[in-house]
Amino acid sequence: MTTAKTLFDKLWDSHVVRSLGENLDLLHVDRLLIHDLSGSRAMMDLNERGLTVRNPELCLSVPDHSVSSLPGRTLASSPNGERLGGALRDMSAAAGVPHYGIDHPNQGIVHVVGPETGFTLPGSLLVCGDSHTSTHGAMGALAWGIGSSELVHVLATQTIRQRRPGTMRINIDGELGAGVEAKDVILHIIGHLGVAAGIGYAVEYAGSTIRDMGIEERLTISNLSIEFGARMGMVAPDETTYEYLHDRPLVPKDAAWDTALEYWRGLPSDEDAVFDREVSFDAADIAPQITWGTSPGQTVAVTEEIPTPDSFVEAELRSNAETALEYMGLNPGDNIAGTKVDRVFIGSCTNSRLTDLRRAAAIAQGRQVAPGTTAWVVPGSGIVKSEAEAEGLHEIFLAAGFEWREPGCSQCVATNGEIVAPGERCVSTSNRNFVGRQGPKARTHLAGPAMAAAAAIAGEITDVRALPPIEGSE
């Protein structure tokens, strides 16, 4: 038997408190992120059961789902902000859980706040009552989303019962073409593998394309793991990771940093480690993506046509395509480019970090949002917002006619009342184009930040690489 281990094996094995047999382990939770939607509820349940938070110092709570993104907002600016955000604040204070409240400069979407503050560390096990917790895997952490009963369990015991998943490695090699972003890479992967391919697997993303990416791009990749069924999607930590983390507010300092660094360097998968499944992609094959349906796997290159249901061999996929096209109000066979849009949303835990905003701003600079199109930029956190403002990105957006808003989940999920109106079409940098996700009957097209910004300028879905040059430039 080989002793070679994958990154996943190392992470898992170092957290086993006790084996419960049948592939089931009780694992230590190093970090728990708590948000206002699932978290407030779970903390209430905990109280009702007469239990307490076992290790409040290993938790961090932040309101994101229910808060308004309106400039000058308070908790009262959104329908459920006061109730959910207020409950989270009060219960966190009572339990001694550190809390970044709505007015704190570090408030933001949990999956943006965790990595950028250094709450998320390589080698750690992190959970959150939110399926996009896979995001944190990009830091070399073992991270996944849990349900509300499990969340109460973690609060009370600082452990979680979990069945060991299989391992899958996705290799992406080569250089990405001009105008192709991390979001395009992961949508392309999901489009090819299908939305159920990752079920039962912990995924490691590897290959030169991933190595060459910055942390924020890797976070985008890991974020969408759950959209093909994988609860965990990770990237081995490397110099890029350490450089990113160094000096962030919550990371270990001085000697503790050195100890940690030595530990982290031992985490990457061993050379001869074997994965249960391995797939490979060539970066050169990837074009800017745009989804056409109501599942993230229903995606095409922006240069392609909207598929006809008949092009799907499998009956189930064919009928899914039919229903999706009807909901989306699209004509199969038409070019996807040229589809008129009403709204553009640049934000969410997928694409609301500084790198994303820079890419969108590069497109927006010197151009104007098309008449009749409403475009929002919602930075992922207070830290992102202030960094972007220090670079003047907000001025670029505002001059181009975008709204520059306060951090939170906002239109990704519309829990805060910020919906896309029925029948409206929105190009969104978020991660879910499900029926009704951005509001009842809202039509969502997922894309990366550059493509989204280009759609705002053109007033229609358009190939970012073919955007007409700005007059007077060149």
Partner: protein
């Protein structure tokens, strides 16, 4: 948690793949959700027409299927968001068992936290079950026996399904994970003691002000 030992009743076929938890529990109901108030909105986009009236084509609206206790669904059922409300909603409609070729992982786990039994079966078997369940205007009875791990169809076919012993016991006895783990807290304390030496940086967070 209540026990689940035997189940007998109508099974509703829902042959559609990738039904996500946003369809099962639309986001607008989440902020005020409790385990008991969701059943009227469960499957809303499929169950109701634009004007709010019932969609007569949706299986759980059809005569004979309104009291279904089993749902036979297309593959990747319950994918998407981690919301446990999806299980609460289904359970609130009276469904205690869901059969599909595959499930969203989080949904699958959440079922066991709420005394709902998810059963994974091969695609051909699921297709056969759907045919049998769809043939009868909902008049015939399926049976599930958790102790024996068997599903018996109206035609008398008996199918064995997988269920790990810990989950089986939890369903049969209505056991709750939290109480169990809290009894073993000394082990968690011992783990942390040792771990503080191996990974001190996990426990020494910078300050949050």
């Amino acid at each position: 948690m209540e026990k689940l030992q035997q189940l007998k009743g109508v099974a509703a076929p829902l042959p559609r793949a990738n039904i996500d938890t946003d369809i099962i529990t639309p986001m607008k109901y989440l902020t005020s959700a409790t385990p008991d108030n969701l059943h009227d909105h469960t499957f809303e986009p499929l169950r109701f027409m634009a004007d709010g009236s019932e969609n007569p084509d949706f299986i759980l609206n059809k005569p004979g299927y309104r009291d279904s206790v089993i749902l036979i669904a297309g593959r990747n059922f319950g994918c998407g968001s981690s919301r446990e409300t999806a299980v609460w909603g289904i359970k609130g409609m009276g469904i205690r068992c869901v059969i599909a070729e595959s499930f969203g992982d989080i949904f699958f786990n959440n079922c066991f936290q709420n005394s709902v039994l998810p059963i994974r079966l091969p695609a051909e078997v699921v297709a056969d079950l759907m045919a049998e369940a769809g043939d009868d205007q909902g008049n015939t009875q399926f049976q599930v026996d958790v102790a024996a791990r068997t599903l018996t169809t109206p035609s008398g076919r008996s199918i064995t399904f997988d269920l790990t012993p810990d989950r089986q016991t939890a369903l049969l006895e209505g056991l709750d994970d939290i109480g169990q783990t809290m009894k073993e807290d000394a082990e968690t304390a011992a783990f942390q003691d040792k771990d503080r030496t191996a990974r001190p940086w996990i426990y020494e967070l910078g300050t949050i002000d």
